[in-house]
């Protein structure tokens, strides 16, 4: 290898990118510039494979105050209240060191939120693991769950919802996606990351810089191979206690108007924060790297620029306000050190012991990062031809037992009982429900948070699966009376340099985008995680989503289990799409499906459902999801209730979409639903609630029996984690 090839390999740049850098600079890159281009042109920071597609996203609505381009998106809730939210992946670090990987994932997403001036009020997490018996899987599950809990619980933000999936495609590449939601009251300012004001100071706050995660950003942009172990010394250590201090101090200085701009040091640490702040503000920055507080005095300028030590922020502050700013940080036991100042620019100049070591225009690196149109094929769904819904077969009870005992159908309580779901004393619905609910402090209205993306639907049809990643959670919000407002996403895919992956990516994004447009619920923040492949094996395409919804009041919130006996049970069924889904996969059968979805009127359906969900007509409701109607009824019966069902519907086929509701006022409910005048919508009475027992055709089983199976499946799957 030539010296140049070695350098390109070390800095993970290819020949074309090298040529482009030469062209931009008019010369060869030198010294620290190599590291800066390496970090900011990595897939993780530059989105070079996805940007062309992300630009097409539906990302605006009258409620959106901030979409892509900042640390998180912001939505106006009216009445002076706003929320910021975002979801992010921490897949690769969590596979290497599950506890710290998951913990720092939570820490990072929280910083994205409070950096904008919002107080974090809720966390959610979307996890995909391999088969329970796969190599290291117990350790990974244990570490990730303890890591999320360890960080979130300590920092004092409740985890109110989550999803956990299992599939062999994640055996060597698990997914850890965390979402955070932050709150702005009437008096809370929104803070942005745009540096401004020549002569203002660049202030470093939070933890000292160490060796943590050096080259982390470029590592996340690579596939795993057998040499991953050698990359281990870059594990980042999170300290939720320190983060809590940072939250309080940062929110205080923002509220007191002591900062001009603020940015957290996330991926590529000081490099991305410095260059992005300067680039956005169209200013220069003079920064003295020898002034950066260090935990390890042997760090070089390159180490300092690339370190991903956690719990650090970069602030821009008016010199006149430095003293009061430092006083606030000191009170919280934190240091705030001046490391540079904003200049006319245009260049960012980096100094080491007064010597100028780098002098470069931030636009050169940030806005001229490469963008690739990676090859993909047009996706055509094979499931558009109508076909007969399969008949029920076999012993219903036996099948149901198999489902409940499996890792797919059993309880997730082992996971979520390790999360503090109620700190903040605002939680109305916790992780045991699909939609997490918190009360908004000032208006007393309810905020709903729900996650989407069902990997088995993605494996079936990435385009429909993408659509489902929006529609399924939107229905979950609506039926509880929440208006779906906006979306964040985490697009977890394999290697984008493979046509197959890009085809899935484009198809999924297209499905998501159409659904968002139809519902007028824009995607306003998120991230892309490519290279989720190990030894050339890709994960299932997994565009996880987080939706937030607003409900005008706390009262009449339907339960997701049957509320009382003697209520009438109905199904509301939209159109006639269906899939054999997860049960077919469990039986190693290729699932059949019909996915020609009726979009016309669906937006009105969601609006009407939202109104219905706040009325007193619905006492309990649940979306029929994986494993079909019987599984949904089972979940509604676990609390000692039950039902007597008369329906000819297939027990296990998954309808897309169907909702089960129970009501005390059948006549009024029927009248209401008919008044919507929606052609594709069918309302059907299917039975009555009762105590203790679930009865449907050949099935007759005690709720307690089902409850025991549901609760004990975790122990059976993970012997050492009970």
């Amino acid at each position: 290898m030539t010296e140049l090839q070695i350098k390109l390999k070390l800095y993970r740049l290819n020949q074309d990118e090298y040529a482009q850098i030469q062209k931009l600079l008019g010369r060869d890159p030198k010294g620290l510039e190599w590291a800066l281009f390496s970090a900011l042109w990595s897939e993780h920071c530059s989105y070079k494979s996805s940007k062309i597609h992300l630009k097409q996203l539906f990302s605006q609505s009258p409620r959106v105050l901030q979409s892509f381009g900042e640390n998180a998106g912001i939505v106006d809730l009216g009445q002076g209240e706003k929320i910021a939210f975002k979801m992010e992946s921490h897949n690769h670090p969590s596979f290497i060191e599950p506890y710290q990987g998951a913990a720092t994932g939570v820490g990072g997403i929280l910083r994205d939120i409070f950096t904008m001036g919002a107080r974090p009020i809720a966390l959610a997490n979307y996890l995909c693991f391999g088969e329970p018996k796969a190599n290291r899987m117990e350790t990974l599950v244990d570490g990730v769950v303890r890591g999320i809990g360890g960080y979130g619980n300590c920092v004092g933000v409740p985890t109110i919802t989550g999803q956990t999936h299992f599939h062999s495609s994640y055996n060597e590449n698990i997914l850890v996606n965390a979402m955070a939601v932050g709150y702005f009251g009437k008096a809370d300012p929104i803070c942005l990351s745009k540096a401004k004001g020549v002569g203002t100071l660049v202030v470093y706050v939070g933890a000292k810089t160490g060796r943590d995660g050096i080259h982390g950003a470029s590592m996340a942009s690579e596939s795993f191979d057998d040499n991953s172990a050698a990359k281990r010394p870059t594990v980042q250590i999170g300290d939720p206690f320190f983060e809590k201090l940072l939250i309080e101090a940062c929110l205080e200085v923002m509220k007191k108007d002591l900062v001009v701009a603020i940015q957290d040091m996330g991926a590529a640490g000081l490099t991305s924060s410095t260059f992005e702040m300067a680039e956005k503000g169209e200013v220069g920055i003079d920064m003295h790297l020898d002034q950066v507080p260090l935990r390890d005095s042997t760090l070089t300028p390159e180490d300092i620029m690339l370190s991903e030590s956690q719990e650090r922020m970069l602030l821009i502050c008016d010199p006149a306000k430095l003293k009061p700013l430092q006083e606030v940080f000191e009170r919280w036991g934190l240091d705030a050190s001046v490391i540079g100042k904003v200049t006319q620019g245009p260049n960012v100049r980096l100094f080491w012991n007064m010597e100028l070591i780098t002098d470069i225009n931030p636009a050169t690196i940030v806005s001229h990062a490469p963008q690739y149109q990676r090859p993909f094929e047009k996706y055509n769904s094979p499931y558009l031809k109508p076909q007969a819904v399969p008949q029920d077969g076999g012993n219903t009870l036996q099948t149901l037992e198999t489902i409940l005992k499996s890792e797919h159908g059993g309880s997730r309580e082992w996971v979520y009982r390790q999360y503090d779901q109620r700190v903040g004393a605002a939680t109305a619905r916790d992780c045991s429900d699909p939609v997490g609910v918190v009360r908004l402090p000032e208006s007393g209205r309810a905020l709903g948070v729900v996650l989407g993306c069902r990997p088995h639907m993605m494996r079936l049809d990435p385009q429909f699966g993408g659509r489902d990643s929006i529609l399924h959670p939107a229905l979950q919000l609506a039926v509880m009376g929440f208006e779906p407002l906006a979306v964040t996403d985490c697009l977890n895919f394999g290697n984008p340099e493979k046509t197959e992956t890009m085809t899935q990516f484009v198809a999924a994004l297209d499905g998501m985008n159409s659904a968002c447009r139809e519902l007028q619920a824009p995607i306003i923040s998120g991230n892309v995680s490519f290279y989720n492949e190990t030894k050339s094996k890709n994960i299932s395409p997994t565009p996880s989503t987080g939706l937030v919804g607003l409900r005008s009041k706390m009262e009449n919130l339907p339960t997701t289990a049957f509320a009382s006996e003697g209520e009438e049970i109905y199904t509301l069924t939209w159109g006639d799409c269906w899939a054999e889904g997860l049960l077919a996969e469990m039986n190693d059968k290729t699932p059949k499906a019909f996915l020609n979805f009726e979009t016309q009127g669906f937006d009105q359906f969601v609006k009407e459902l939202t109104k219905l969900g706040t009325s007193d007509l619905v006492s309990s409701a649940r979306i029929v999801s994986k494993f079909g109607l019987l599984y949904a009824l089972t979940r509604m019966s676990l609390n000692g209730m039950g039902a007597r069902i008369e329906s000819t519907q297939n027990h296990f086929v998954e309808p897309l979409y169907q909702i089960v509701v129970s009501t005390k006022n059948a006549a009024a409910l029927e009248k209401e639903v008919q008044s919507w005048g929606l052609k594709p919508l069918k309302i059907q009475k299917i039975g009555q609630t009762q105590k203790n027992e679930l009865v449907w055709a050949d099935l007759k089983v005690k709720s307690e029996v089902l409850n025991q199976l549901y609760k004990k499946s975790w122990e059976a799957q993970f012997e050492n984690l009970a």
Partner: protein, 80 residues
């Protein structure tokens, strides 16, 4: 039977969050503490053919379970 002590400390280059918190408190109480590191000490009673054999087992136990070598180092010592 051999009594083996395993001293587990955070790696020098890795942030010791616990040590930092304890150090902060000590400083705020006026002690002249410049740095603080917190680790663990584990005492194992091991059946072994020889001291070397017991130490080898302790090393394996430490690598396998007691110590996360990504973020911690360990030292083995024979105790009286």
């Amino acid at each position: 039977m051999y009594k083996i002590g395993v001293r587990i400390m955070p790696r020098a280059e890795v942030l010791d969050t616990q040590g930092r918190a304890v150090g902060m408190t000590l400083k705020s109480k006026g002690f002249q503490v410049m740095d603080c590191k917190v680790g663990k000490f584990v005492i194992l009673q091991i059946e072994g053919e020889s001291p070397a054999h017991a130490r080898a087992q302790a090393t394996k136990i430490s690598e396998d379970l007691l110590c996360n070598t990504l973020i911690e180092t360990f030292q083995i010592e024979e105790l009286p």
